[in-house]
Subunit: 336 residues, 2 copies
């Protein structure tokens, strides 16, 4: 009858005693015949591996005004992340991504096919994922990340790997460049069976997770500055009135995307196919993304929106600010 005491089972026991029976770690340690520090570590492990799940749920009827306003105006499930407005951009990203990670986890269930984009936001989110055991889940990369000169974007694969290991899922990379040089090359590649496999997976996505890029006059974000596009491309984007992008697919302020030729060379999923995904989670941190965010919302790209309080506030307030000098200032801070 001697129960084999695995670390797992001890962690479970400890978690039950701590979270369900309100015992102190000390008491648990005595019962488990080990030291208190070990119990502390067991509990960390239990949380880390998803044995313990903590969620904060807003009773909807008494959600803060901001959330209600956004939910009503844009028809999205919204989570406003409270942050003090004195925090710097990095800290905000950190907090938003942490809360995003914890908000996403309960939405993931077995046999999900999760599409994940890349970028500084997603990278941050991936770093804060809490584990959850699922079966038959697949993580699929939404758009290519290929680009010769920048090294920092090795994390495209790193990001989806982290998602994979958090959910015990199979990961499918998308080994193509973010943008092809020639639309024709893309068209041909899209016929390749290796690529088709990924595209088919993308068609079967049940969840998509992405940030937004914002096309700002002065300081364009990652994609716009990272060497993916040359100045001709940038001029063209500007000429087409592009507001931002999701997974390297561009759109305008009003959500339209017709006639943006660069999209023909982009490896990301068309807005239409993205819109077919059941659950589309958009994570945004920092008010400088607001232009892109508005476009994305106008395009109906998101079903769920997670963003920081400051940006949320900007979003509901009048567009009057869009040419405010303070904007230029914020933008010039541009992290990562």
């Amino acid at each position: 009858m001697a129960n084999k005491r695995t670390k797992q089972s001890d962690a479970l026991r400890a978690a039950q005693m701590y979270y369900l029976q309100d015992q102190t770690m000390d008491a648990i340690a005595r019962e488990l015949r080990t030291s208190r520090s070990t119990v502390s570590r067991l509990l960390s492990a239990a949380r880390e591996t998803g044995l313990v799940q903590i969620q904060v749920k807003t009773p909807a009827d008494r959600a803060p005004e901001l959330e209600r306003a956004i939910r009503k105006r844009y028809q999205v499930e919204v989570h406003v992340v409270p942050v003090s407005d004195t925090l710097d951009e990095m800290d905000v990203l950190d907090r938003v991504s942490m809360q995003a990670a914890r908000t996403i986890t309960p939405l993931v269930d077995s046999n999900a096919v999760i599409g994940v984009a890349w970028g500084s936001t997603l990278s941050a989110v991936s770093r804060h994922l809490t584990r959850k055991t699922t079966h038959g889940t697949t993580i699929v990369q939404l758009n290519g990340a290929g680009n010769t000169q920048t090294t920092g974007i090795t994390y495209a694969s790193e990001i989806i790997r982290r998602f994979g290991s958090a959910y015990g899922a199979k990961v499918e990379q998308f080994p193509v460049p973010a943008f092809f040089d020639h639309a024709e090359t893309k068209r041909l590649m899209w016929e390749e069976r290796s690529v088709r496999r990924i595209l088919d997976l993308q068609e079967r996505m049940t969840i998509a997770i992405f940030g937004v890029g914002s096309m700002n006059a002065d300081v364009p974000s990652h994609v716009y500055a990272g060497g993916y596009l040359d100045s001709t491309d940038l001029d063209e984007l500007e000429a087409s009135g592009v507001a931002g992008d999701v997974a390297t697919v561009f759109f305008r302020d009003d959500g339209s995307d017709t006639g943006i030729v660069l999209n023909d060379r982009s490896s990301g999923p068309s807005l239409d196919s993205l819109r077919r995904v059941r659950r589309r989670i958009c994570v945004v941190s920092g008010a400088k993304k607001i232009k892109g965010l508005r476009g994305a919302l106008a395009a109906g790209l998101a079903t769920d929106l997670i963003l920081d309080e400051g940006t949320a506030r900007e979003l509901v307030e009048a567009d009057a600010h869009s040419s405010d000098p303070i904007f230029g200032f914020l933008n010039s801070l541009d992290g990562l």
Copy 2:
């Protein structure tokens, strides 16, 4: 723009920062411009009012052996509450009831009709309920508690009141004696419209929560000792081979209840009508209840069982003895 800072909204904010963003209470206090102790209290309140929900979920495939054995043998969803075997009876009850309360809460949702029995176990459970906001929920008392001489059982109403306030539910008391002196009186009362209302509610229960009474030679439980039954009744129970009861309705070892005349005078729901309830949660603490528990399981009264480790062990072991020794051996292995 001045956000009215209610206590609720502060608690929500604090909870998000603490549980979702891993901030320390100190940091939260600074952001909220209050003292750390207030934050500590806000967080307690947030937990207390169900704003924060913590659950420990066993991945089923790696549930402890005991749980698997019971689940397999009796076809019930089982939660074994880990307790050191050196604890005294009161402590065990405390822990089991605490964990039971936290296990039950997530099962409750809006518009549920919850039947609740009474007794020392249920009393303990009711004292540890964590709040959860629901709508249209009703708590209905399963069986009468009337009895002139004992005072302690004022808690029959106290118990369901606590359930009610935990879920913001309407409570329906059942103001009849636990046992009628004459079956005929009960029959007539059961026609009264005031009583019918309760009985109808009981028919519509979606969840029932109860302990078990056990008919032991040496230590009869509450109902058997509390002055509800006289010695004639007790003799009769013994003669009928009664093993125990649920909500003052009796049954034998094998789960049968035909021919137990006392049931005709009992105010509790018939076993048949109990079995019609979707979710039937049985809470058991202490090995001396095992006789009654076995009967209840044989009768198929429970869909969910919450019990302490010691009793769980007895349940699988002693059961092994009762049939074949080799069976017992097999049972103890019982992998997956």
